[in-house]
Symmetry: C2
Subunit: 116 residues, 2 copies
């Protein structure tokens, strides 16, 4: 039950639900998420850590960047269904659409002036 409580706690915050929705599109690094959501680096990193600690996302270091993802490897036994529910239940929300738009714009900018 402790684990389940931890998972529901991780999900009971709009910042983190938005993150999950972004990560369901594709793997993203912290800097992409903070641009997409227009939030501080601290806030992005903290909340990604909470999701990771709850076993809902995983991370992968690639040089300076840490890429977060919902899709890779084995998580806890609840992960799959939780992810499907979030995908189904959070679709047309304005803020979700805005996040996606900002993500695309951020990607464009970083391609024009790549940081890698």
């Amino acid at each position: 039950m402790r684990e389940l409580v931890k998972i529901f706690k991780a999900l009971s915050d709009s910042t983190r639900l938005r993150m999950i929705k972004l990560l369901q599109q594709r793997e993203l690094c912290v800097c992409e998420i903070m641009q997409a959501m227009n939030i501080s680096q601290t806030r992005a990193s903290r909340n990604l850590g909470i999701l990771k600690n709850a076993g809902l996302i995983s991370d992968r270091r690639d040089g300076l960047w840490v890429h977060y993802s919902t899709s890779r490897q084995k998580f806890n036994e609840y992960h799959q269904e939780i992810n499907a529910l979030i995908k189904k239940w959070l679709r047309d929300e304005d803020i979700i659409i805005e996040d996606s738009k900002r993500l695309k714009k951020a990607v464009k900018l970083s391609k024009a002036k790549p940081h890698k």
Copy 2:
């Protein structure tokens, strides 16, 4: 998203998860729940209120008693699936089994000396 956050908040507490598990067995009044879980009346009432406010359970007044239930009437669009997941994910936990045992004992006693 606000509603979903509220639902996950309601679920992110072991007291309330235990309550849902008890109510999945059958409709129960507050006094039965506080006996089954061995908690105070304040705690029982308050947490039942949170679950109700999140649209996860309903109540029905019958004289002095207020009966809570997971099964009656229309809730929010998430209620059905959430309930199925809790049922599936929370099964063999010790505390859940103890709650059920205490519930049966409380029922026995109140049948010997009924309050209705």
